[in-house]
Symmetry: D2
Subunit: 253 residues, 4 copies
């Protein structure tokens, strides 16, 4: 794409693009440690104009029947109805924003009603993609991830205790729990988020957990704590470690 561009931009090579497409324009830029190491100039190029992008759902990165204690019915419904619905709604919202931007008579506060939908659907799509990406593992954190989290929280168990507590406190409503690296502060922190619009600024998500009731009610009813256990048993720690390694742009030197 470099040839199409005018000098201010930053290239992305074809292989990166193909890979990004294949995994659904997902966390490609952040996660793909190896790919990026091979093309460190990628990542900042705009892939589509705002509102012109049509999102496609990213396929589940695991067999939905393969999880330990989370049913295929739950996962399939979560992916196709909740995540899939968010993708469709985001596309519709962007289309309407494109139209609304040209309507000079639209009061700005009415325009912002659509922008709120934009923020919410963006959060829902992105967070769901990260959630499914860090699911489907065996739940065993390797030493490297444990060491990094110990550094951030004093002890690995302290990290886990807080993450679980936030999750349990969100039972019965909406929300997300996010372990993130706050680039402004240089800290690893867990964050409570009550809906798709919430997020800590300047923070790279490392482990993302959906606490909306659609994440567990089919399997566990109101017993959110059982879902929290099941989630931990299925964390894909490899994806978490890749996100940690990608933080410095090249992985561990």
């Amino acid at each position: 794409m470099k040839q199409e561009y005018d000098g201010t931009s930053i290239g992305v090579d074809r292989r990166e693009l193909i890979r990004a497409t294949a995994i659904g324009l997902g966390a490609a830029a952040l996660i793909g440690g190896t790919a990026r190491a091979q093309d460190a100039s990628s990542g900042a190029q705009v892939r589509a104009e705002a509102f012109a992008q049509v999102h496609q759902p990213t396929p589940l990165p695991f067999n939905s029947a393969s999880l330990n204690g989370l049913s295929q019915r739950l996962i399939d419904s979560h992916w196709s109805n909740n995540y899939g619905g968010a993708v469709r709604a985001l596309n519709e919202t962007k289309r309407r924003l494109g139209d609304a931007l040209g309507d000079k008579d639209l009061p700005p506060y009415i325009y912002n009603d659509l922008k709120r939908e934009h923020l919410m659907r963006t959060g829902s799509v992105v967070l769901h993609e990260l959630y499914f990406e860090n699911l489907g593992g065996n739940g065993r954190a390797d030493d490297a991830a444990r060491a990094w989290l110990s550094k951030g929280f004093g002890q690995f168990d302290r990290w886990e205790a807080e993450f679980r507590r936030i999750a349990n406190g969100l039972g019965g409503g909406s929300g997300w729990v996010v372990l993130g690296f706050n680039q402004q502060f240089g800290t690893a922190e867990n964050y409570w988020m009550a809906d798709h619009m919430h997020s800590p600024a300047m923070t790279v998500p490392l482990l993302v957990m959906d606490m909306y009731e659609h994440s567990y009610h089919m399997d566990f009813g109101a017993a959110a704590a059982q879902y929290v256990d099941a989630f931990f048993n299925n964390i894909n720690w490899e994806s978490v470690l890749e996100r940690i390694e990608a933080l410095n742009g090249r992985g561990t030197a």
Copy 2:
């Protein structure tokens, strides 16, 4: 610090640390294109344990008397009372979280009340730091920034029209407007945010505008549109361009 670490971590050299401290542990990691080019292994190391970090306010990067159409009284109050107050509140909240985490009898939903404060104060501190950092300029976007935004929005003017519209729609209440690069989607997008807890996930802020009434009421009363004009006249486009350049970890190749 490398010697203190066990192999999974990522170093940060003393010079980086000093610089980060000097500019207030601010957007150092993201913005410091040059510094990072010299130490590409930096950036992912935890600077302090969660809750143990005591934040210091980042000084204003410009003379508060030097802005064009925004009074020194307004800027000084904004910095010392609103931003400064957020720093103090964040420190207090982290201290209380450290205590609360050890209290086994605390219901998780009560713990989460503090985590909400944590999210809100984190957002307020980070967004204010980015806001002051992209203020204090002459308001003239150079060609590189204009080209990058044209790519993202079809036209530079289309970007500006939407950013201003969102801002005007937020008059009379709380909120932020953020131009960000959505790393998940590969898009440049403007976001409406209604309070400090809002933020688009996986998005690097490039231009941040405070629309809380404390940003303008002293100078303009309820005439938010006059503040929007004044903000545009004082944008520090150099800092915006640096943030764009830092997106790929090295700046433009």
Copy 3:
């Protein structure tokens, strides 16, 4: 009634009390039945000091196995886990507020974290009580209710169309739909509410519908529209009409 007044209280005569009990205006009948019967002067009298009141769950006003298309398992879980949990959390929050009010060193913004919990749990308890109260019927609106809603919305069907649309738009997350009489405006209006803290000021709820996912996921999964149909089939229109009739304080003259 002035003659019954002792300086602190405001009278209510026995007829008023009987009416209030008969039509179930609030938890009055349920919580303080006996006490109020012994002190008929208590219409607007405070039943307990703020924070000192210990709430007891209001029993379901219908047999949970008797609904049409909503399973006993769903209703029982909703009542005991979600509503019951809210009652317990409200009691705990009030207890903590009583303690916190005496703590002079507590920053007001930390105190307000508890007040937010207070607002949220209050909303959850109250709205759940109203929801169960207007459930358990045969779903057939009588002529009087239809006429009143026709007056408010032009047509009864127009009211229903909007109420259903709001409900369907809330699928996949949290929220409530409320038909209320806005006393400030003299209008009947449907309201979208995204969580327990939302509510239109100066508005008396007439029909309340829970759209949190715990209201339907066990029975319908993500198919919120099926739940909306089922809810309409089980509306207790008698309770709605009683609430309408109670609006002017005396019922139909």
Copy 4:
């Protein structure tokens, strides 16, 4: 209007109307004065179809130059820009809702974006009207109000301490403090509210305080505590007492 009505309506006698006017219970007296005077049977009768009502701003019930420590400039701006703007926005929102309801292709979640604006503007209009109504007094609570609040909070001073604490904790952002009578619980309680959409369900507001920054920044800058003092010095306790007296459905006979 009785002649237009079908028998399901609910009367209100002339005495009730006079009382409502006298104590300013809602915008009734203000908005529909003439119409209601012509049809005294309208207590709970709908004054206008949902979305068809065009609101007119309620005049300030006091001379804006007469307050003690709150400037005329602040009050006039608050009334004309913030309250007046909310009235205009509510009218525009209702007009758009009427159109949108007939658009069968509009996704329900987009429709709900307008309903959120509806809820927010409704709250803003209603709360501002109640706020100005309970302002303009001499700040001295008479014995009856003190006694009633002592009953609700143990001590009058305990009520005041909590109300002030909530207010101070809201400094620097948006929000309201409301003393209300919770009809479901039979309690007098203070409520924290972070924006116009918040409100405790089934609660009659008795004293309403605006904590949006536009309520004080012109006069006090960020010194919210000075505004809290000034507000207390200008409370119109007569209006508060009238609201308390109206709680039992007939007021003192």
